[in-house]
């Protein structure tokens, strides 16, 4: 039996994006020893890509804002499938979490009286997003990183976790390999926080990097934890569509927050054509009112471009399908037009949206201060994930916690822009704190080396197979299957076909081979990630088949309307005793009267 190099800590945090860093900082502040492992170098995680801002009801720009408005906006955006306790905690605690970043050195853009400036974003009633131009995520991750490195956290960069280790019903640590040498290392702990982010690589067109292969969701599932709401995948309405090599790269919603408008090939602002019932009272009825809203006129209502992402993405798909799309299969996003309204518009755009200007100029030869961008939906975020307790972020596996994108609950059926950055701060901190407390309150765990050995053996099998295919072809095939059959518009027959394809791809993945050796071998890493991708693709597909209605990010062509019965349940997935995926409908507990009153009050 191999003798693993073993590191022992009270708390192991897996993932070093915003949620993982915030969790590690919180756990260290509780006085326990903390290890942080991440797939990439520190500071490169997907949080760095977040552009528009972090949502918090600071009320610096509009004093009508408060936690109750933010809570009700989040619930409305999530079509009431949210874990209301998480939505409540999030709305109440986000302002303190943002102010805390300032105490750690973050420099947000300022209001004229020197406070943190806030901008408009889809689904938020008032200007609520604290931001730094359009590079808010970079500011946040760097602030957390630069603060975190002085907190005594034991950081392990470029390590990937293969499996969670169990001690009876408790989690006891994890087995990981390092990319550089391909060596295995055993992390022994009393508590584990998963903060691994999303699943975007299951789809062909995505804003996510190679890292987002559903690791945390799959690790948790394999360890006996429940997943929830996996059918709710967010397709961000505005990704780049041209040239082909940049397809899917994100174009921030901040463009629309600053006054950018969506137009079809006929030059028509099609978002005015279909405003959903539950947003009608909050939405501008003409372009002029919409413009005034983006410029801070408190009597104006928001333009339809700032409706929730699920709705905007579907409207774009409709325009393209009905033949009114742009030359490369998207629609036009125009910010250049504001030159008709304000002086020095080009400078203003470069100041407010510097990285968008740079991105289009460099990658697409487009000057966004002069011409419109071509945009279309891109797989961006998963609302579903690991089912957790709203207060502690603990899963149904003792000692196993989850926070940020890999956890479910806060966003329900659709996430509002800006709520992911506040999510990872609020629940990263909570997960870290409660994991530390759990570690202190519970006895040490025992590591069963046999579990690690099994995982190691499985991981090395691709080197030993003589015949078989490479990992990239299988990954690309899976991405095509999910993109075509379980994408923005879903139908039962296609999804059943996807399930059959996933079975076939699982068989192919079991026979994958890799070339070369264990040292920094991306082919091997891709082969190892396949298992996680297949697990979460299956989870997404079977929950999407089960939810026979359209709600939030989940749109069924064969069931285009909302079904009130489905509005009462979360779909939960867990591994059955025979290893099969078991799906159940779990009723959402009734909201306490004080929260129900807030929803009612906000209309």
């Amino acid at each position: 039996m191999p003798d693993y190099e073993t590191l022992t800590h009270d708390v192991l945090v897996i993932g070093a994006g915003g949620a993982g860093l915030r969790a590690a900082i919180a756990a260290a502040a509780e006085g326990v020893s903390v290890a942080l492992v991440c797939k990439s170098l520190l500071g490169k995680a997907h949080t760095v890509m977040a552009e528009g801002g972090v949502a918090a009801a600071l009320a610096n720009v509009d004093d009508r804002d408060n936690w109750r408005v933010h809570f009700s906006d989040t619930m409305r955006g999530g079509q009431y499938l949210n874990n209301w306790r998480m939505a409540e905690l999030h709305a109440k605690e986000a302002p303190d979490r943002v102010r805390e970043l300032e105490a750690w050195g973050a420099l947000f853009d300022r209001t004229p009286d020197g406070r943190i400036l806030q901008r408009n974003f889809g689904g938020h009633k008032y200007p609520r997003l604290a931001h730094v131009g359009d590079r808010t995520g970079l500011e946040m991750i760097r602030t957390l990183q630069d603060h975190g490195i002085h907190q005594g956290i034991d950081v392990h960069m470029e390590y990937t976790v293969l499996t969670l280790l169990k001690d009876g019903d408790r989690v006891a640590g994890a087995l990981a390999y390092d990319r550089e040498r391909g060596r295995f290392k055993l992390f022994h702990s009393r508590a584990v926080v998963l903060a691994t982010g999303g699943i975007g690589r299951a789809f062909k067109i995505t804003s996510n990097s190679w890292e987002y292969t559903g690791d945390g969701q799959a690790l948790a599932y394999d360890a006996g934890a429940a997943l929830q709401d996996m059918e709710f995948v967010q397709f961000h309405p505005t990704g780049m569509v041209w040239p082909p090599s940049v397809r899917g790269i994100l174009v921030t919603e901040g463009v629309r927050g600053e006054g950018g408008v969506l137009k079809n090939a006929e030059g028509r602002r099609f978002m005015f054509d279909d405003v959903p019932e539950n947003y009608r009272a909050q939405t501008a009825t003409d372009p002029d009112e919409g413009w005034r809203y983006t410029q801070g006129d408190k009597s104006a209502r928001r333009p339809p471009e700032l409706l929730t992402r699920d709705h905007v993405a579907r409207a774009i798909v409709r325009e393209v399908r009905e033949g009114r799309g742009s030359p490369h299969g998207g629609v036009f996003l125009d910010i250049a037009w504001i030159k008709d309204r304000i002086p020095h518009a080009a400078e203003h755009i470069k100041k407010k949206l510097p990285s968008m200007y740079h991105q289009f100029k460099t990658l697409a030869d487009i000057d966004i201060t002069k011409e419109p961008m071509e945009v279309g939906p891109t797989t961006h975020y998963v609302m579903g994930g690991i089912r957790v307790d709203g207060d502690t972020q603990m899963t149904n596996v003792a000692g196993l916690f989850a926070a940020g994108e890999c956890a479910a609950g806060l966003h329900g059926a659709n996430r509002l822009g800006g709520n992911s950055l506040s999510d990872l701060l609020v629940f990263g901190k909570r997960a870290g704190e409660y994991a530390a407390r759990f570690a202190r309150a519970n006895s040490d765990t025992r590591v069963d080396v046999a579990q690690a050995t099994r995982a190691e053996r499985r991981a090395l099998e691709p080197f030993e197979r003589k015949a078989g295919e490479g990992p990239y072809q299988i990954q690309q095939a899976l991405q095509n299957v999910m993109q075509e059959n379980v994408g923005i518009v879903r139908r039962e027959a296609e999804m059943l076909r996807a399930l059959a394809e996933i079975d076939a791809l699982s068989a192919r993945a079991a026979n994958v081979t890799v070339t070369g050796n264990r040292e920094y071998n991306p082919g091997w890493h891709t082969a190892l990630d396949l298992g996680n991708l297949l697990t979460i693709s299956r989870a997404i597909t079977i929950t999407a088949i089960e939810r026979k209605e359209s709600r939030g990010g989940h749109f069924r062509d064969d069931y285009p309307n909302k079904d009130p019965e489905f509005g009462k349940v979360n779909l939960v997935i867990q591994a059955g005793p025979d290893g099969s995926m078991v799906l159940s409908r779990v009723p959402i507990p009734p909201m306490p009267p004080e929260l129900a009153a807030v929803i009612k009050e906000m209309g």
């Binding site: 105490a103 050195g105 853009d109 730094v132 040239p243 091997w524």
Partner: protein
């Protein structure tokens, strides 16, 4: 379909050589796309770091035709494709494998720089007031994506390997961001002189030239820090004032 040939350095710490790969090109393609295509079709184990593929994370730093670049922001249309394009790892750092280098030194350097230390809050609710004009100077430095191309190109590191006594342009920018932060009250000037080797920089501005974020590293960060060091250690008038004020 047109094609292009890439000479990619393959090897590890022990050594290696350039290998040629020919792959199809498509409109708008960047060098990282070509590397990925080669990886998927011809060399599954070709090692390269990348994450965002949008110039925001600073992972895919390498040298294209001898120039330090982000692979994801280098378009094929800006290169001469009639001859092979060379792609090799950053030369200033120890090699791990293929295009991947050991940049861990940078992470160690950062820990040595005194962390952000704010003045007491301005308002009773624990918040501060800062004007946009005051934060903008520092926001320029905070655009840094830590790609380390400036470290790669800096001759003090690249040729003279003064890593023990010199922190490099990236960390002068980091120090400048802290020193010029409107709220920060810590003093890093003695460290700049004694520990961080700011005197080694002779302002050739190579770092500024390669910065993918367009940060004016030399003029806006390094020179003002050098001036602070001069003011603190070499200003005779200032020294007299200090001596007398101490007596008083």
């Amino acid at each position: 379909m047109s094609e292009a040939t890439f000479k990619v350095w393959r090897g590890d710490a022990q050594g290696g050589a350039f290998q040629s790969y020919t792959t199809e090109t498509s409109p708008g393609m960047v060098v990282l796309d070509a590397i990925h295509q080669i990886q998927a079709d011809q060399a599954n184990d070709l090692a390269v770091r990348w994450n965002c593929k949008a110039g925001k994370c600073g992972s895919c730093s390498a040298e294209v035709n001898g120039k330090p670049r982000l692979l994801c922001m280098t378009r094929l249309s800006d290169l001469d494709l009639t001859t092979p394009v060379t792609v090799e790892p950053m030369r200033a750092f120890p090699r791990i494998k293929d295009l991947v280098t050991d940049v861990s030194w940078n992470f160690e350097v950062k820990k040595r720089i005194k962390e952000f230390t704010p003045r007491p809050p301005d308002a009773p609710d624990g918040t501060w007031r800062m004007q946009q004009s005051d934060v903008e100077r520092v926001q320029e430095f905070r655009k840094c994506i830590e790609c380390y191309l400036c470290q790669d190109v800096c001759h003090v590191i690249r040729e003279h390997h003064e890593e023990k006594e010199f922190i490099g342009p990236r960390f002068f920018v980091h120090t400048a961001a802290l020193e010029m932060h409107p709220l920060d009250v810590a003093d890093r000037v003695p460290d700049l002189k004694r520990e961080f080797g700011i005197g080694y920089c002779n302002i050739t501005k190579c770092c500024t030239a390669v910065c993918p974020e367009g940060i004016t590293i030399t003029d806006n960060a390094i020179i003002p820090l050098k001036e602070r060091v001069v003011d603190a250690f070499y200003d005779p008038l200032g020294r007299l004032v200090k001596i007398f004020s101490r007596r008083a």
